[in-house]
């Protein structure tokens, strides 16, 4: 068995020593409340600018679901010195890339550029933070674009409605409205959004004191500081955003089962959704490693048991908070798609059996170590590009309280024990805490 010994030796090395060099971070705050973090790195001639606004779908009110995302689109419609569409045209022309996305807890806007164009990204972000161009025409254009996006990305592809919409049913609209509705929102609510809503949202949430700017990559720190001061320094502070609607989501309220027809699917599927705690909860690292043991890689439990041994599924995927971390309750989702041999009911039983086994027996030391090493590798891979470094810094600021937390982010995962894993499995992955969506294809109906 020499191979096994070699492997153990390797694993020990991996768990012991392999960490990237600590990241040097320079963080400060402008008098108007804008948080700034600079992370210099000259490994490529590229610079990334990433702004997180502390607002997402969780800040929406009833009747206005989907609004945070609709607003994100409005941020591309021009501002005081930037014509509609020019934001993208200017970045494109410089050879850069950009995007924005909305999740439950945050909305991000980012650009990656050749290093000599840092000033362009900063100027564009500052201009729309200073003076967004809010018009009825722009709102109508983006309302249509978002509704089209919903059709294209949520309603039309197979299985995605399960993830983007149905899984929000696990939170109760009365007890926890912030996490009980989807980010994409309802067509009807999107139709109801008014110009006044847009202006108010901008005034409330898009102020420097509700934003964090991270710059990573190949730049001169003195120049970056001076550009940030010149472009963002004059933007006035906004009022403190209102408190979030209450979220008192109870756990274990009894299993709910629903059968849904996925007209776009050619194979049946089942989605198990368990209520999960906040990302900031002390149970979270253990739950995340458990998700990895169940769903990450060919050697994961679900792949071995359901795809390979039972030969029932083409894939089984575990998603802990599909759109990103949350400061409120989350979802632990298992989506399993048939390979054509099994119907939704038998897939459901197969998954449930695997979950029950983890609850009753826990996992093995090798599985825990594997999950820890996979997490470590993931954190290292994130360091490869300027943009993914910026996102990792932002994540640590929002969910761990400081950018420096990035340098010991792995510790909480290495501290997880086998007992922790079994405890969180028994606490969250129980039938009473779950929603089961049995997705049948149209022809099966």
């Amino acid at each position: 068995m020499p191979r096994l010994f070699l492997l153990l030796a390797l694993s020990a090395t991996v768990a012991g020593a392999q960490s990237p060099a600590p990241m040097a971070l320079d963080s400060y705050q402008l008098p108007n409340g804008l948080n700034v973090v600079l992370a210099e790195d000259h490994s490529a001639q590229v610079v990334a600018v990433d702004i997180w606004y502390d607002v997402g779908s969780r800040n929406e009110r009833p009747g206005r679901t989907g609004f945070a995302h609709l607003f994100e689109h409005m941020m591309f419609m021009g501002s005081g010195n930037v014509k509609t569409g020019d934001h993208m045209a200017l970045i494109d022309a410089a050879g850069g890339s950009l995007n924005a996305s909305t999740a439950e807890d945050r909305t991000n806007y980012y650009e990656t550029l050749p290093s000599n164009r840092l000033n362009l990204a900063l100027w564009l972000e500052a201009d729309r933070m200073r003076s967004l161009n809010v018009t009825d025409e722009n709102l109508d254009i983006q309302r249509n674009a978002v509704q089209e996006e919903r059709r294209l990305r949520v309603d039309n592809p197979p299985y995605l409605k399960l993830v983007f919409e149905y899984q929000y049913a696990v939170a109760d609209t009365t007890a926890c409205f912030p996490y009980a509705h989807s980010v994409i929102g309802s067509m009807e609510d999107l139709g109801a959004a008014s110009l006044d809503d847009v202006q108010q949202f901008f005034n409330t949430y898009y102020a420097p004191n509700n934003a964090t700017l991270v710059i990573t990559g190949d730049f001169n720190p003195d120049e970056a500081r001076s550009l940030v001061q010149q472009y963002f320094g004059g933007i006035p502070r906004g009022p403190a955003p209102p408190p979030l609607a209450a979220c008192n989501q109870p756990y274990n309220t009894g299993q709910v089962r629903r059968t849904v027809t996925d007209v776009n699917a050619t194979l049946p599927a089942v989605q198990h959704v368990y209520r999960a705690p906040a990302t900031t909860s002390e149970d979270f690292p253990a739950l995340e490693l458990l998700a990895s043991v169940l769903g990450d890689g060919q050697s994961s439990r679900l792949n071995r048991a359901i795809v390979r041994e039972a030969r029932a599924a083409s894939a089984s995927q575990v998603l802990l908070n599909a759109l990103g971390p949350r400061r409120g309750p989350g979802t632990f989702t298992i989506l399993t798609v048939s390979n054509g041999q099994a119907n939704a009911d038998s897939l459901d039983k197969l998954v449930a059996t695997q979950i029950a086994r983890v609850v009753s027996e826990g996992i093995t030391p090798a599985e825990l170590e594997k999950a820890q090493n996979m997490k470590r590798a993931q954190l290292i891979y994130e360091r490869q590009t300027a943009f993914s470094r910026a996102e990792a810094i932002q994540r640590n600021i929002m969910f761990s309280g400081s950018p420096q937390a990035i340098n010991n982010e792995i510790d909480a995962y290495l501290a997880v024990t086998l007992a922790d894993i079994q405890r969180v499995a028994g606490k969250y992955l129980v039938p009473d805490n779950s929603f089961v969506f049995l997705a049948t294809t149209e022809s099966a109906q």
């Binding site: 492997l7 390797l10 991996v14 392999q18 960490s19 990237p20 490994s43 490529a44 995302h69 591309f76 021009g78 005081g80 010195n81 014509k83 509609t84 934001h87 494109d92 022309a93 410089a94 850069g96 890339s97 950009l98 995007n99 996305s101 050749p114 000599n116 362009l120 100027w123 201009d127 200073r130 003076s131 018009t135 722009n138 674009a145 294209l152 990305r153 592809p157 197979p158 299985y159 995605l160 067509m187 999107l190 901008f202 010149q230 004059g234 933007i235 006035p236 007209v263 050619t266 990450d296 050697s299 083409s314 390979n339 054509g340 997490k375 590798a377 993931q378 891979y381 490869q384 590009t385």
Partner: protein, 740 residues
């Protein structure tokens, strides 16, 4: 299942949506999905700053400190001299070429081995064999079973993958750099000592078959398949796996292919990350010990079709609300000097959100979410393709516009400023594509695999920057030529065919998702039978009793009472009307999901009795009808009723159960119990407005119903409770208004 993900240098990918959404790629999709994506933006055609009038400044007066804010974009800082990152090359004792991109900043490594053993090498009728073999390589090799391979590499935070494209079979291993010995050992085992267990062969066969079935539901995948098979004709690049070919592959054939083609001569190993050339050489020599030999000469890849004119393939996807349009042609060998000009031309046409296709199809016309074009390299002749997903109704217009833009690209010289802007964009983008060690390695790999000139990567930017307008037109003239061009449309052929057949650039072949040829006469029938699902949402309705007045030019002319109630698991709609001496009572029974169960109608008109009795079971309507249309003679009614059908009597009530929203449009088959006919109608929400009826003033959707003999406008309350407020046949002085 097609080409390996060979990244085109300088081609941006971030703003695109993924081409396919198999569950395995779900995580990646999710990240993109919540995005507005940069492609959400809209660019004004008019260069004048028309949108400048109403900025919403954060404060009434700009503070003094803000005076330093420039009112126009800051100029670019000086460009630093850019060199392609260094890499080293060597040849191993067994002939494998080795490339090492050393980068010690992060403790990770990646290995990628490519061999000329892709799809074109598959025996006739065994399409998909190289893909199946690739997947099986990691399912048992050396001393390890499939489970042990996965377990061992994943335990050190790494991964192993293998796949086959048209030209190459590739194996990739990556992980933390401390796992380098394991990574090389696994690479050597899977390439030279795979065990190909029979049970794994069967499992892989099932996976491939379900993968092919999944693809049949994906418009992108359907379009790509129809495009490649038609474009390449008898050439090997047209040979894609099918359920039949996958069913027929045996283990013996896999073993024989492996023994013939997986040989070190001609193979390329690229190593990137925290490892020196010497270490990589030592580990690779050890891992590949005993693996020797050369593959047979490249097979005859066949000839490209010789067609004078374009051809059109329409892939029928019943119920599709969008059409995917793909137009393209073959290009040239990978080292053709026209490559650089083609890259620039492609960028101008459809490289991103500033491309002409995006600007016109999306920004000006609003037909699509995105429209792009791309060039794909192959070892042999590559291809160009322009693609858009558009709303069904505008399919023919969008296809015509796309063709028009191809003509423009090859006939109209590009303006100097557009050319220089595009070139500087491409040059500026290059550093973004080589940020990581494995990206650098990928670029080197492609350059070597395609036998590009030795200095290709180092001179790439300079050569792009030297492209001239005539060179660009010359390149475009080649890849947008009509001879041999292919247009594929994936959509609901019953809606698309009539208009498409009028302006198509060539003869149209209609096929279904399985690739079987259909006749135009097959389409309508299959559409009705397969049909779309019902769009009705019963939760929008509630039991109620509504009274309406029938008014002609302000004068009451009759009355109607609509009673909607639930009985057990059925909805029962009773409609009693008395109009100008004619009386009529209609009872429509509907399932809990509002599917039609029966229609009974009694009435008298012109002194004659009217009677309809029709029941619907499993999508088939049967019964009798005696109406004015049949001169009050009793006629048999037999018809197939699609799931989405709404009975014409209940439409004015059930319209409130549609998910109405501003701008929404629905295609709905309307069933007439009197004749058994099905007529497609278009229901469109035209506006949101206030409407005043005797029952009060309401915020309402104005909905047009078109497609039947009498187009009608119906007003439905825009907030719950949803109900019909008013009906007005277009062009008639008649209105039906809600009284209470």
């Amino acid at each position: 299942m097609n080409t390996p993900p060979v990244r085109y240098p300088g081609r941006r990918t971030i703003a695109r949506r993924p081409r396919t959404t198999t569950i395995l790629q779900l995580s990646a999709v999710l990240l993109l999905t919540a995005c507005a994506s940069s492609s959400q933006t809209r660019v004004a055609d008019d260069p004048a700053p028309a949108q400048q009038v109403q900025p919403a400044p954060r404060a009434a007066a700009a503070p003094a400190a803000d005076t330093g804010f420039p009112s126009s974009p800051p100029p670019a800082a000086p460009v630093q001299p850019a060199e392609f990152p260094p890499f080293q090359e060597a040849t191993l004792s067994n002939g494998v070429r080795l490339v090492v991109v050393e980068n010690e900043t992060l403790p990770i490594i990646s290995l990628n081995l490519a061999l000329p053993a892709g799809g074109v090498y598959a025996p006739e009728g065994k399409e998909g064999l190289p893909s199946m073999l690739a997947a099986l390589l990691t399912k048992g090799a050396g001393e390890r079973s499939a489970e042990q391979i996965a377990e061992d590499i994943e335990s050190v935070g790494g991964s192993i993958t293998a796949g086959a494209g048209s030209d190459f079979l590739t194996v990739g291993v990556g992980g933390l750099s401390s796992a380098a010995p394991l990574a090389f050992e696994l690479m050597g085992d899977v390439i030279a000592r795979a065990t190909l267990p029979e049970s794994e062969v069967e499992l892989q066969r099932q996976q491939m078959l379900s993968g092919l079935r999944l693809q049949q539901g994906q418009p992108d995948a359907l379009a790509q398949r129809a495009f490649l098979t038609t474009l390449y004709g008898d050439h090997m690049y047209a040979r894609l796996s099918t359920p039949e070919s996958v069913e027929g592959i045996t283990r013996a054939e896999l073993v024989s292919f492996r023994d013939r083609y997986l040989k070190p001569e001609g193979a390329l190993l690229v190593v990137a990350g925290d490892l020196t050339l010497a270490e990589a050489q030592r580990l690779a020599e050890n891992a590949f010990r005993g693996w020797t030999g050369a593959p047979p000469a490249t097979p005859d890849v066949g000839t490209l079709p010789d067609r004078d004119n374009p051809v059109v393939v329409l892939v029928h996807r019943p119920g599709s609300v969008q059409s995917t349009i793909l137009i393209g042609n073959t290009t040239f060998q990978p080292n053709d000097p026209r490559h650089y000009a083609s890259v620039v031309a492609n960028e101008i046409l459809g490289g991103g959100s500033q491309g002409r296709l995006f600007q016109i199809l999306r920004e000006q016309k609003g037909w699509t979410y995105g429209a792009y074009s791309s060039l794909s390299r192959r070892s042999g002749v590559g291809y160009f393709a322009a693609q858009a997903e558009v709303r069904t109704e505008v399919t023919d217009s969008a296809a015509t516009e796309m063709l028009q833009q191809l003509v423009r690209l090859r006939t109209e010289p590009v303006q100097a400023d557009e050319l220089s802007l595009t070139k500087s964009t491409l040059v500026g983008r290059f550093p973004l594509t080589i940020q990581t060690a494995s990206q650098v390695a990928g670029a080197v790999r492609d350059a070597r695999l395609y036998n590009l000139p030795g200095d290709y990567l180092q001179t790439y930017r300079t050569r792009l920057a030297a492209v001239t307008a005539p060179q660009l037109m010359n390149a475009a003239e080649h890849f947008t030529r009509g001879e041999g061009a292919v247009m594929v449309v994936v959509g609901d052929a019953s809606k698309v065919y009539p208009s498409l057949s009028q302006g198509a650039p060539g003869p149209i072949t209609i096929i279904n998702a399985e690739g079987d040829t259909l006749q135009p006469s097959d389409i309508a029938e299959s559409a009705a039978a397969a049909g779309a699902p019902s769009l009705l949402d019963a939760s929008r309705l509630r039991a109620s009793r509504d009274s309406f007045n029938v008014v002609v030019q302000g004068t009451p002319f009759g009355a109607m009472v609509r009673d909607l109630r639930q009985e057990g698991n059925e909805w029962v709609l009773t409609d009693s009307s008395s109009i100008a001496g004619a009386r009529q009572v209609t009872v429509v029974r509907l399932g809990s999901d509002l599917s039609l169960r029966s229609v009974t109608q009694r009435g008298s008109m012109q002194g004659r009795d009217m009677k309809v009795n029709v029941t619907v079971t499993n999508g088939t309507a049967s019964g009798t009808a005696a109406t004015p249309l049949s001169q009050f003679e009793e006629r048999q009614v037999n018809a197939t009723v699609p799931a989405a059908a709404i009975d014409d009597n209940s439409l004015p009530t059930l319209i409130a159960a549609l998910p109405l929203a501003p701008g929404a449009t629905f295609q709905i088959p309307i069933f007439s119990a009197s004749t058994g006919g099905i007529t497609p109608h278009t229901v469109t929400v035209e506006a949101t407005e206030e409407v005043t009826v005797p029952a009060g003033t309401f915020n309402a959707y104005r909905v047009s119903v078109a497609g039947g003999q009498a187009p009608t406008t119906i007003w439905v309350s825009a907030q719950a409770p949803y109900r019909t407020l008013k009906l007005a046949p277009v062009g008639a002085p008649l209105e039906i208004v809600l009284v209470k």
